[in-house]
């Protein structure tokens, strides 16, 4: 208990916990779950965008998208490394993903149907991700916080690119405007769900806040996102698909409609519209290419043996 008290005191003083420091088992477990979930999201998140790299409408857009998925692979790598400092191997994390035990962001279980979805993902999904991640730059676990600094910088670049791409569509032909509106219609609610269940259904929030693994509650972040994003949509001339959306002068923010939590929990359970596709793609990539990883290991072993001889 002394250890716990000392730990909690350090965290309360906004000190960083480092890999070799003592930490409560629950802290370690929660962090591994959270960081690996974040890493998986980066990797699975490459799929909806990869779906449009081959069909990007200009060389510039193709290059931007390639650079973006490259960044995402990089984020996945930092985050897996950060999680590994807590004593869980990357293989273990990947197996947990493939078995369905580990989760990834619900948002990537929705399909990218038109090019506007790529713009919408940059604008809304990266926007929501940043909202979640900015506070994590001050999270209590050192390697995670440092990874987040780099991730956030790149994410906010992606978000601006996404908004810019959306602007072009919203100012484009009638067909492009329609695409843009349709994308907003489909991505709006899933984006709001990205912040997780409402605070009163999020039992670990209090502890995670105390441990500085979380620094703002789900509902606080969601409100912030709505308040920032609604004016952006208005600026684009697009309609947010929520009849209950209204400015609330008193709270200085928007009131918005009820989220379909049944859908949210179904998607968390792995029943999202393209969840089967996402898991199949990741499993196939892993299993069908196992021979490559085995060959690399075998080659490495041969080289080591030759060097030792």
């Amino acid at each position: 208990q002394e250890l716990v008290d000392a730990f909690e005191a350090r965290v309360a003083a906004d000190e960083f916990i480092e890999p070799k420091d003592w930490m409560p088992e629950a802290y370690r477990k929660t962090l591994v779950r959270q960081i690996s979930q974040h890493a998986h999201s980066e990797i699975v998140g490459m799929l909806p965008e990869g779906n449009w790299i081959t069909r990007a409408p200009s060389l510039r857009r193709k290059a931007i998208l390639l650079a973006k998925v490259q960044d995402e692979a990089g984020h996945g790598l930092y985050l897996y490394c950060a999680a590994e400092t807590l004593g869980t191997s990357r293989e273990e994390m990947i197996e947990a993903l493939h078995s369905g035990k580990a989760k990834y962001s619900t948002i990537f279980n929705y399909p990218t149907l038109t090019w506007a979805d790529i713009a919408a993902i940059g604008w809304l999904v990266d926007g929501a991700a940043i909202m979640n991640q900015v506070p994590l730059q001050r999270t209590s676990y050192g390697p995670y916080a440092r990874a987040m600094v780099r991730v956030c910088k790149e994410e906010s670049f992606h978000q601006r690119q996404g908004y810019e791409a959306m602007t072009v569509l919203a100012q484009g032909t009638e067909e492009q405007k329609r695409m843009a509106q349709d994308a907003l219609n489909r991505w709006w609610w899933p984006s709001l769900m990205m912040f997780g269940p409402p605070d009163d259904k999020s039992p670990n929030t209090e502890r995670s806040m105390r441990w500085r693994i979380k620094r703002e509650t789900n509902d606080e972040l969601r409100q912030k996102f709505v308040d920032i994003t609604v004016p952006q949509a208005e600026f684009l001339g697009l309609t947010v698909p929520d009849e209950d959306l209204a400015w609330n002068e008193e709270k200085g923010g928007y009131d918005f409609g009820d989220i379909d939590w049944e859908e949210f929990y179904a998607v968390v359970r792995g029943e999202g519209p393209v969840a089967k596709e996402r898991m199949k793609a990741r499993r196939d990539a892993w299993e069908q290419n196992a021979w490559v990883r085995e060959a690399a290991d075998a080659h490495e072993a041969k080289k080591r043996a030759a060097a030792a001889a």
Binding site: G50, I53, V69
Partner: protein, 249 residues
């Protein structure tokens, strides 16, 4: 002139089509690290393609740009070599193709930096380091898979076998190309064919693979006579600009 434009197109189409092929891997690679390096190579190649195609478009009549050339030409007008349009196959086949092509492209660009066409020389100078890295990365994988497990050796052997017959096209010089070679604009690839063959032999020796027998050369890409694969690639790549011809993105 027409021959210089054709040369820009040939270089640009090689980069574009190979970049497109590499981007098909996105999210499906053997590891995150490999996903990252495939996207990185794809990005380099798309950047190079943009430069060459803008060069070609600038020299053409009308107000074409690189996008018009990439997205509004049909198969008979593409000038890429047949190797770059070959399907990815498995990872060994992709790396075999990359090894055979990047080695060639690297030797070409090293010389192209001396082109009398200053614009071309500048693109080459900018790209040569990128391609040196592609070559190194692909060579490493050829060695690793060639001298890895039994399965990886078999797969790499098959991957090389699939792409081997497209090597002669890389060194084929037709009238159009000869003209720009004579002008000091283009590189004569025959100058470095021996060096190329030696580099291949050396890497394959390291990979403990036999040098495949020469196969009957398959030519045609440089005059628009492609394999059946390119049409499918274009159908995907050009979908949006074809479907919304008036839109900007």
């Amino acid at each position: 002139d027409a021959e210089t434009i054709a040369y820009y197109l040939m270089l640009g189409d090689d980069a574009l089509i190979l970049g497109q092929r590499l981007s098909e891997w996105c999210g499906h690679a053997p590891s995150v690290e490999v996903d990252l390096s495939l996207a990185n190579m794809g990005l380099d190649l798309i950047g190079q393609a943009t430069n060459y195609l803008n060069g070609a478009a600038g020299a053409m009549d009308g107000d074409k740009d690189a996008d018009a050339l990439a997205f509004k030409r049909d198969v008979l007008d593409f000038r890429n070599c047949l190797m770059v349009e070959q399907p990815n196959g498995d990872f060994a086949q992709t790396m075999a193709r990359q090894f055979l092509f990047s080695t060639w492209q690297h030797m070409l660009l090293q010389r192209l930096t001396q082109s009398k066409d200053g614009h071309l020389a500048a693109i080459a100078a900018k790209s040569v380091k990128e391609v040196a890295y592609h070559r190194e990365l692909a060579t490493d994988w050829v060695v690793r898979l060639g001298d890895g497990t039994e399965e990886s050796t078999r797969r790499m052997t098959e991957g090389l076998d699939w792409n081997w017959r497209f090597i002669p096209e890389l060194f084929d010089v037709d009238e159009t190309l000869q003209k720009v070679i004579n002008q000091g604009i283009a590189v004569d690839p025959r100058e470095f064919e021996d060096e190329y063959r030696s580099a291949l032999a050396e890497a394959l020796a390291q990979a403990k693979l036999a040098v495949p027998d020469d196969q009957r050369p398959i030519l045609g890409g440089r005059k628009g006579h492609h394999s059946e694969h390119l049409g499918h690639l274009l159908a995907v790549m050009q979908y949006l600009p074809r479907t919304y011809p008036d839109a900007e993105w």
